[in-house]
C-alpha cells in the first residue's frame, strides 16, 4: 500500500479539499494504483540526468520597464463573489 487513508486526508488538507468518507476511500484506492504504476520510473537510473522543467530552453523573458494599460478596478472586480467598494470582501481572518 503506497498511500493510506490517513495520508489521503493529510494531502486533502494541504490541497484545501474536503473529502467525504466515500471520496477518501475511493481516492486512497485509486491513488494507490496510480502511485504503484509510477513506481516503474525507478527502473531507470537517473542519477546523472538533469531534470527538465520546460521543453523550450527559455531564459528570463524581459521587457521594457514601462507602464501599459491594465484592466482597471471595475473590470478586475467584476467577477468578485463578494466585494465592498474597490475591494474583495472575505470572511474575517482575525478573531
Amino acid at each position: 500500500m503506497k498511500i493510506s487513508v490517513a495520508e489521503v486526508e493529510y494531502v486533502a488538507r494541504l490541497a484545501r479539499l474536503e473529502l467525504n468518507k466515500a471520496e477518501t476511500d475511493l481516492f486512497a484506492g485509486q491513488m494507490d494504483a496510480i502511485l504503484g504504476y509510477v513506481e516503474k520510473l525507478n527502473e531507470l537510473d537517473t542519477a546523472d540526468i538533469r531534470p527538465t522543467s520546460h521543453a523550450v530552453p527559455v531564459e528570463n523573458a524581459f521587457r521594457e520597464d514601462a507602464t501599459s494599460p491594465s484592466l482597471g478596478v471595475a473590470k478586475a472586480l467584476a467577477n468578485a463573489p463578494d466585494r465592498a467598494d474597490s475591494f474583495y470582501r472575505v470572511p474575517k481572518v482575525i478573531e
Binding site: I3, E7, V8, V11, A12, L14, A15, R16, L17, E18, L19, E23, F27, Q30, M31, A33, I34, L35, Y37, V38, K40, L41, N42, E43, L44, T46, I49, R50, P51, T52, S53, H54, A55, V56, V58, A61, R63, L71, K75, A76, A78, N79, A80, P81, D82, Y88, V90, P91, K92, V93
Partner: protein
Amino acid sequence: MDIFELTIHELHRKLNARELSSAEATRAMLERIESVEPRVGSFITRTPESALAEAAAADRRIASGDAHILTGIPLALKDIFLTEGIRTTCGSRMLHNFIPPYSATAWERLRDCGSVLLGKLNQDEFAMGSSNESSAFGVTRNPWDTARIPGGSSGGSAAAIAARQATATLGTDTGGSIRQPSSHCGCVGLKPTYGRVSRYGVIAFASSLDQVGPITRDVTDCAIMLGAVAGYDSKDSTSVNTPVPDYTAALTGDIKGLRIGLPKEYYIDGLDRDVQAAMDRAIETYRRLGAEFVDISLPHTDYAVATYYLIATAEASSNLARYDGVRFGHRSEQAEGLIDMMTKSRSEGFGAEVKRRIMLGTYALSSGYYDAYYVKAQKVRTLIMGDFTRAFENVDAILTPVAPTPAFKIGEMVDDPLQMYLSDIFTIPVNLAGTCAMSVPAGFSASGLPIGLQLIGKPFGEETILRAGHAFEQATEWHTRKAEI
C-alpha cells in the same frame, strides 16, 4: 452541398465571389447547431446574436475589399479560451458564472481576421480527461456513434466539427487533447510546438505542456488556422519569437524522399486490429507517394504516461490553487472563516477528476516525496526528449497511431482512471518533448468508427507534417466521409 458542409477555404471562395454572405453562412450554421445539438451536446454556451452581428460586420469588410481568408467564417472555441464578455466555464462548476474581462490572444487574432464566434464548446473539466465525461455540463457524444465518447479533453470541439456545427475550432493539447478527439471524430487536429501559439488567456492546466492548436475538416484548413494564431506574444513569457511561415505554401503534395520513422515501441502486440490495419494501409500509401521508411526506437516510451501524470498533476495542483473563492469563481455559502471558505468553495466547485489530479499533484510535490516523484519525473522527461532528438537526426517525421483503440463507450472507463490515462500512451510523449504532431483521418473500424494516424514533427517542423498530412489526405478519401447525425 449544404453550407454547413463547407470547409474554410471553400466557404472563403464563395464569400469572396459574393455567391454567399457570411450572414447566410452563419444562419445556416446556427440552424445546424439547433438541429443536431440535442443528439451531440457539443456546446456549453451559444452566442447566436453576437454571431449574426459579427457576420454582418464581416460582410461589410468583404465588401470593402479588406478580407482575410477567415473573414466571415463561423468558428467555435473550446470553453478554455477567455472571450471577453462571454461566459467561460472551462467545463467546471467552479467557473459556471465567470465572464472574462479580457480575451485570449489566440481568439483576439481570429477575431481580428473577422471570423465569427458561434459559441463555446464542451470539454473535460479544466481539460482533465480523455473522454469528455468529466465536464460539469454533461457528456458530449461522438457524432459517429452517440453511445461512444468523442475523446477528450477537446471532445466538444472535435464533435462540433464532425457534426458540422462549426467550420473550424481551436482546442488545447496537454497530453493529446487535440489529437485523440480528432482521431476519434474523424477530424484533422494539430498540436503545435510548445511556444508556437500564445497561451495568454487560456485557462492553465499544466503550463509546461499545454499548447493551443486547430481542429478542422481538412489539412488545408488546419494550415490556415495555425497561420492565423501562431506567433510571438509579449503577454506569454513562454511564447517563442520566431517568424511564422506560410503554412498553406507547405501543402505542395510532394513528399518524395521524405524519411519517415516507425518507432517499434508504438507498434505493439495488443494494438487494436482495426488501428493496426489502418496504419498498415497508411504506410503503403506513403510508400506509393515516394516516402522512405526507417525503423527507429524511442526507448523511453513506456515511461511516458507515468512521467506525464506526475508532471501534469504537479503543475495542475499549483495552477488550480488560484480557485479559492476570493476573486472569481464559485464561493461557498456554507463556510465559517477564511480557510473554511477556501476549502468548501474548492470542494463544491471541483469535480472528481480534478480533485483526484490535485490530490496526486499535491502528494508528488509534498515534503518528502518531491525528489522521489516530481524531480524523478523531470529527469525521465529529459530522457524522453533525448529519444526524439536522436530520432530526428535520421528522419523528417515519425508515423504512429494516435490512440490504441477507436472511441470507447460512454462510461466504459470512468471507474478506472489508470486505464483511462493509459489510453493517451501514443500522444503524451510529444507533449513531454514539446514538439509538434498532427492527427489525420486514416480509416474506419469494422463498426464504422474513425481512426487517425499521427505524424510527429521536429520542433517547429509544422510545415513538414502539414505537407505529409496533406499528401496523405489527397491520396485517400477518409476525410470526405461524413457522420450521419
